[in-house]
């Protein structure tokens, strides 16, 4: 197996971990097995039946990995991506995300983390087949081409299908095979239809609740307010409901198992539960947050130049963002089947590795007896990074002889999930000769990192080590879920302070699309606009003056304002607002065109520019930026906010935790900056600028500065 190390030459060092534990069948002494398939690495397999099977490690949750990652291997193999068979990766160290060290999809890392590895994997398979063909033809490998499954001797035009060389290819394994240079790309860099269009327009796509044994029992769970615990429950009436099979306590509450979902819900309605009192409310939380900032408890993590003094004539502002549920259209669901010798779980998850660890821990089974069957994700936005719903399914299934599908209702999803943390921001700024001279930004919020990092790390280290790792992260580094997008302020402001305090609270906080950037993008880009107006300058000119050292910020800003017609006439009663933000390695600028209709803002059009380095599938990039904009608009323009009283979430479904709908959706135009830079993410970066762009347009139109989300729409 020593050859695997050299296979990895030229790829990022961290990616070495990707191959640990993976056995190369081509090198196996089991020659019968080896002759039927050629599997040069964890991702690709060629069979004697003429299939190329690609194992997708970065799960498909809408962001398009299934298409873009298949394009990467298809490019190297000279094949139509449609001709490649795609399988979803099991939980296996071979499929860890080198940017995280665990098997997770998120952080807009899929393209960036796969670009070198998958092209390399494809190149190795191609070169092995070319070597096998050259040997079969008795010619130099330089004159053999691999195209559309055929290996062609370009001199004689003799051809062989790769399936005839499956048993020869491993002999020609060349770990130094190089991916094609960009100049030879025929697939990457060109827009192409999503490979999952057909299944997703015909109802055949398999999501969480569509997978697993069809005779599974269905369970729902009754859970209590945050900061409370179960005192007792009464299930007699519920047990009498037709179809109800069992009712029992699990660690998160009371599980009701039935023959189907409506039967389980009917039973659940009749269970009487009693919970201890919880005092947590968002109202008292905001008072506490203000007090933390009043007392100066936020410690500075960036400090340049001098602090603001009373003579500087500071502009002061307070910004506030609420807790948010992710509310993917597919509520959390998992089907578990636990037997003495093994366990299976079918679910939509961003972290199959973490799920496997959770299942093993709960059941006491060894990791090799746990099988995680990943399905498509019906949206996730960070929510499905967590193992809570998988653990519930396993806990219930351990008490049943049959497989059990644990289904969250929408009410469960809105009330009991992990949430994007609420945050309070205080900013002070000052101007000198028309330029920003001072900037102070202090934040208080709960962390969205440390409720979940221990679970994630448990995939790769024992529990006591994860505790030490979390302690050291907390002690020695800033909390990205609070400070990202604020600490890295790009503007050239000589006197700068950025600080934060971490609040404690009972709410489980989580990564939510764009994480820390989801609040800081709004706050920073709104306050820059406040300074621009205070300076009496055009908001674009003001930013240009402060971004000279940041050409990629400037690049997207210039492209967006040019395409939006910034500075040109807009329809009567309309105004434009702009924002630019860097997140997850990518740069996005957005211009929103807004009017007021009966006192409410209406967004007519959003013009966006994105620089995400080298582009795999331009139309896929556009779709993700559109999606990020709409997700951000939803949190700004509708009543999308979570509040607590007595520890209980006061919202329950889409009527009071709203989402943007078709009639509120603007036209969106996305422009991509040409770039040779390494590829970076697009799933999240479309979101951070949008609320600020809209708020800035509302200010331009009305003189009213909206400093909290969702906007108060009066």
């Amino acid at each position: 197996m020593t050859t695997r190390r050299s296979f990895l030459k030229g790829t990022a060092g961290a990616s070495a971990a990707l191959y640990v534990g993976f056995q190369l069948p081509g090198c196996s002494s089991d020659s019968a097995k080896a002759s039927r398939r050629f599997q040069p690495n964890a991702f690709l397999e060629a069979t004697v039946h003429g299939s190329i099977i690609f194992t997708l490690a970065r799960v498909e949750m809408g962001q398009g990995t299934l298409t873009s990652e298949t394009m990467m291997v298809a490019e190297e193999l000279g094949m139509d991506p449609e001709a490649i068979e795609i399988r979803f990766a099991p939980a296996d160290p071979a499929f860890r995300n080198p940017m995280f060290g665990v098997q997770g999809t998120g952080g807009s890392t899929s393209t960036a983390s796969s670009f070198e590895i998958l092209r390399k994997a494809g190149a190795v398979m191609r070169e092995a087949f070319i070597g096998a063909a050259a040997s079969a033809f008795g010619v130099d490998r330089a004159q053999v081409r691999f195209q559309d499954g055929q290996l062609v001797d370009t001199a004689s035009q003799r051809a062989l299908h790769f399936k005839e060389l499956v048993d020869q290819a491993h002999v020609h394994l060349d770990e130094d095979a190089e991916p094609k240079p960009r100049s030879e790309w025929r697939i990457l860099g060109r827009s192409r239809p999503r490979l999952d269009n057909r299944s997703k327009t015909t109802g055949t796509a398999v999501f969480g609740a569509d997978a697993g044994p069809s005779d599974a029992e269905v369970a729902v769970v009754l859970r209590g307010p945050y900061g409370s615990h179960l005192l007792g429950f009464e299930a007699q009436d519920a047990e009498a409901v037709d179809g109800v099979l069992a009712i029992f306590e699990i660690s998160n509450g009371v599980a009701v198992v039935a023959t189907g979902y409506p039967e389980a819900m009917k039973g659940a309605k009749k269970v009487k539960t009693e919970w201890s009192k919880s005092e947590f409310s968002t109202e008292s939380m905001w008072t506490e947050y203000a007090e933390i900032l009043n007392q100066g408890s936020a410690s500075d993590i960036r400090s340049e130049g001098s602090a603001l003094s009373s003579e500087d004539g500071a502009l002061e502002a307070e910004y506030r963002l609420p807790f948010l549920a992710h509310a993917p259209m597919e509520p959390p669901v998992a089907t578990a089947w636990v037997r003495e010798l093994g366990a299976d779980i079918w679910l939509p998850t961003q972290g199959p590795g973490g799920v496997a660890v959770a299942v093993a821990k709960l059941t006491g089974l060894g990791m090799d007896s746990v099988r995680v069957h990943s399905t498509l994700l019906g949206g996730a936005f960070g929510r499905k990074s967590y193992v809570d719903y998988a653990s519930e399914a396993v806990e219930v299934a351990m008490r049943r002889d049959k497989p059990v599908r644990l289904q969250w209702s929408r009410e469960d999803d809105i009330r009991f999930g992990y949430f994007r943390q609420a945050s309070l921001h205080r900013l002070r700024g000052a101007l000198s000769e028309g330029r920003a001279s001072h900037w102070e930004h202090r934040i208080v919020a709960e962390t969205a990192m440390y409720d979940v990092i221990p679970d994630m790390l448990s995939e790769i280290m024992p529990r006591f080590v994860t505790k030490a790792a979390v302690w050291s992260m907390k002690t020695f580094s800033d909390d990205p879920s609070i400070v990202e997008g604020a600490k890295d302020l790009p503007y050239a402001i000589p006197n700068l302070r950025v600080g934060y305090a971490t609040a404690e609270g009972p709410v489980k906080c989580a990564f939510w699309r764009a994480v820390g950037h989801s609040h800081n993008g709004f706050v920073v880009e709104s306050f820059v606009d406040e300074l621009a107006h205070a300076a009496g300058q055009d908001p674009v000119d003001f930013r240009r003056g402060l971004l000279e050292a940041h050409p990629r910020h400037l690049g997207v800003l210039e492209l967006a304002v040019q395409e939006a017609g910034w500075g040109q006439a807009v329809p009567e009663g309309h105004a434009l607002g702009v924002a630019v933000h860097h997140s997850f390695g990518s740069y996005v600028a957005e211009v929103a065109e807004v009017s007021m209709e009966e006192g409410r803002p209406r967004v007519h059009k959003v013009t966006a520019a994105v620089d995400c380095g080298t582009v795999m599938n331009p139309d896929g990039v556009k779709a993700q930026i559109e999606g990020g904009i709409i997700f951000g608009l939803s949190a700004a323009m509708t009543q999308e906010a979570i509040s607590f009283e007595g520890g209980a979430v006061q919202q329950s479904n889409f009527h009071d935790f709203q989402a943007l709908r078709m009639n509120e959706c603007p036209d969106i135009e996305v422009h991509i900056v040409e770039s040779d830079a390494p590829p970076t993410g697009v799933g999240e970066p479309g979101l951070p600028p949008i609320a600020a762009a809209v708020g800035n347009a509302i200010f331009a139109l009305t003189g009213r500065r909206l400093r909290s989300l969702p906007f108060e729409l009066v």
């Binding site: 259209m329 949206g379 999606g627």
Partner: protein, 162 residues
């Protein structure tokens, strides 16, 4: 309670409580899992199917209300319906979970308004939530499907089925 209904042209007998929502009858008893659970209270449209040709939210439609009726789900469109083609051509789906419902709403819209205005699209489609943000593409796909249907009607001298 035993209820007879037709699903995608096939006669079915369902033996479940009369207040069982049609959504769960379709998913758990019939096996047409293309219809999706999103909210359970007619707020999101993921469960949209056609009842005798009209779009309904199956999550709040009790089994008793569909006795003897004809249901069409996404599976019943056949896969090559002009709306399905347009959806793929405009690369509408992202996660795809809401798209069965979106497509069923769009099919019903185009049946009543073959060339819908923007306001008609907004009216007909605002009951279907998409959290991925595919609305701009849905607009384009509806316009494209409208052209497909128009072209077919011109060519064949008749409207699209179903």
């Amino acid at each position: 309670m035993s209820v007879r209904l037709r699903v995608n042209g096939i006669e079915r007998t369902i033996d479940r409580a009369s207040d069982t929502p049609l959504l769960w009858v379709l998913r758990e008893s019939v096996g047409t899992t293309g219809v999706k659970f999103g909210c359970g209270m007619a707020q999101c449209g993921a469960c949209t199917v056609h009842l005798d040709g009209q779009p309904i939210r199956s999550c709040v439609t009790p089994l008793a209300a569909v006795a003897g009726k004809s249901i069409t789900t996404i599976e019943g469109l056949g896969g090559d319906h002009p709306v399905q083609r347009a959806w793929a051509e405009e690369n509408v789906p992202q996660c795809g979970y809401c798209q069965s419902g979106q497509i069923m709403s769009a099919v019903a819209l185009l049946r009543s308004h073959p060339e819908p205005s923007r306001a008609q699209v907004d009216d007909a489609m605002s009951g279907n939530i998409c959290r991925c943000g595919t609305y701009p593409r849905i607009r384009k796909a509806i316009a494209r499907a409208s052209r497909h249907i128009h072209a077919t009607a011109q060519g064949a001298g008749e409207g699209e089925q179903p």
